[in-house]
Amino acid sequence: MHAVELLGFGPAGWGAALLRAAATTVLVALLGFAAGAVFGGLAAWARIAGSAPLRWLADGYTTLLRGIPDLLVIYLFYFGGSAALTALAQAFGATGFVGVPALATGALALGLVSGAYQAEVYRGAYLAVHRGQMEAARAVGMSTPLMFRRVVAPLVLRYGVPGLGNVWQLVLKESALVSVTGLVEILRQSQIAAGSTREPFPFYLAAAALYLAVTTVSTYGFGRLELRTLRGVRRG
């Protein structure tokens, strides 16, 4: 069969399925990135302001997750989660294997990994915030939570934009690993199509093109965002 037909939107084409899968890729990456923001934010806070054991914990978390293959983390969540759920189900009298939802597992694993990188971004951005800005906030009588919400967080996000852009790209690309759990994102869909048509090359090429499209749009988006935030920072 011709590649155009294979990748098209006709009855024999996989175009629609691939586009749906691309939406899943973006979804799992977004969820992973959001989860990573929570993990990363907490870890950054612990490293900046936490007590010694908290700092130690956060240091361990970022070092560990940046030194261990992401695929292992995904296996841990997928198999570990399944084992835990199965055990739980058995305790309630059920029998057999209970699988965890692939989307949630993938997002959680991506979140844990990207959180380690996001923590570094937030911490670096916080350190870049000028002391004087916080002193000014205190001087007008802001409480710590108010100062954090009105002054620190907005500035950290602005300084962090380039770094967060890199982490987002990382999450997008790492999301391909979630295919091993059976989540039908771009790569898994391409595998399915390649297996069913015995035409792996056009499908993996299409997968590469889809990822390239998403990462390129993201690069552009973050570039625009960076320009805007920079303008804001300069205006001060």
Binding site: T63, L64, R66, G67, I68, P69, D70, L71, L72, V73, Y75, L76, F79, G80, S82, A83, T86, L172, K173, E174, S175, A176, L177, S179, V180, L187, S190, Q191, A194, E199, P200, F201, Y204, L205, A207, A208, Y211, L212, T215, T216
Partner: protein, 241 residues
């Protein structure tokens, strides 16, 4: 905690370490040579050279490594008759070589940009001084730009090496029996995901800590000019006084 299980798991996983290290070191070495070429093409100033290099970097940095692995291992398999005709089939049939190729190309794209950035950071004045005393391009690259850029690139490059060690785990998906492959097999046999994760993770972590330390040492050794001023011997100071 079941220490006997942890111990035996750790030893089983360790049997995959040689392949992990072989893949990582192979990819980093081949990738470095390719990266030098990519960086040289990008700073050449010739559009004919920098264009293809830029496209290469764009394609390999914009797509997941696993897609690259699949494209090379499964995708190119579709062209078996053609590859056989050219005598390339034994190479592309072998998962090991395909993984090595994908990892090398991938790290070449990232490292090429690191090297390009490092070259760009060499102060223009120092390059000018090299030209002013009559150095040719090659001599200036070898004596001035190279050493300064190398020192500059090291921190980012050590991160790239660690990325490669982690990336070798993807080879498990195309059936190579390195550490992650064995870990995955053990998990699906025993369902003791946490213990096995801890064992496998500790192996990777140890390797990466060793690499980090080695690069630190190299960095220290390569940058006497950035360290604190050497203490002058007291005798010398007295002689000058």
């Amino acid at each position: 905690m079941d220490f006997a299980f942890l111990g035996s798991t750790w030893l089983t996983l360790l049997s995959g370490l040689p392949l992990t290290l072989k893949l990582a070191s192979g990819a980093v070495s081949c990738g470095f040579v390719l990266a030098l070429a990519v960086a040289a093409m990008r700073v050449s100033g010739s559009r004919l050279l920098s264009g293809p290099a830029q496209a290469f970097v764009f394609a390999f940095r914009g797509t997941p490594l696993l897609v690259q692995v699949f494209l090379i291992y499964y995708g190119l398999g579709q062209f078996r008759p053609f590859l056989q005709e050219w005598g390339l089939w034994p190479f592309f049939r072998d998962a090991y070589w395909c993984a090595l190729l994908a990892l090398s190309l991938n790290t070449a794209a990232y490292s090429g940009e690191i090297i390009r950035g490092a070259i760009g950071s060499v102060p223009a004045g120092q390059i000018e001084a090299a030209r002013a005393c009559g150095m040719g391009r090659l001599t200036a690259a070898r004596r001035i730009i190279g050493p300064i850029a190398l020192r500059q690139a090291l921190p980012a490059y050590s991160n790239e090496i660690i990325s490669m060690v982690k990336a070798t785990s993807l080879a498990s998906i195309i059936t190579l029996m390195e550490v992650t492959f064995i870990a995955q097999k053990l998990i699906s046999q025993t369902f003791r995901a946490v213990e096995i994760f801890v064992c496998a993770g500790s192996i990777y972590l140890l390797v990466n800590v060793a690499i980090t330390r080695a690069v630190w040492a190299l960095e220290w050794w390569l940058s006497p000019h950035l360290r604190a001023r050497p203490r002058e011997p007291a005798a010398l100071e007295a002689a000058h006084a």
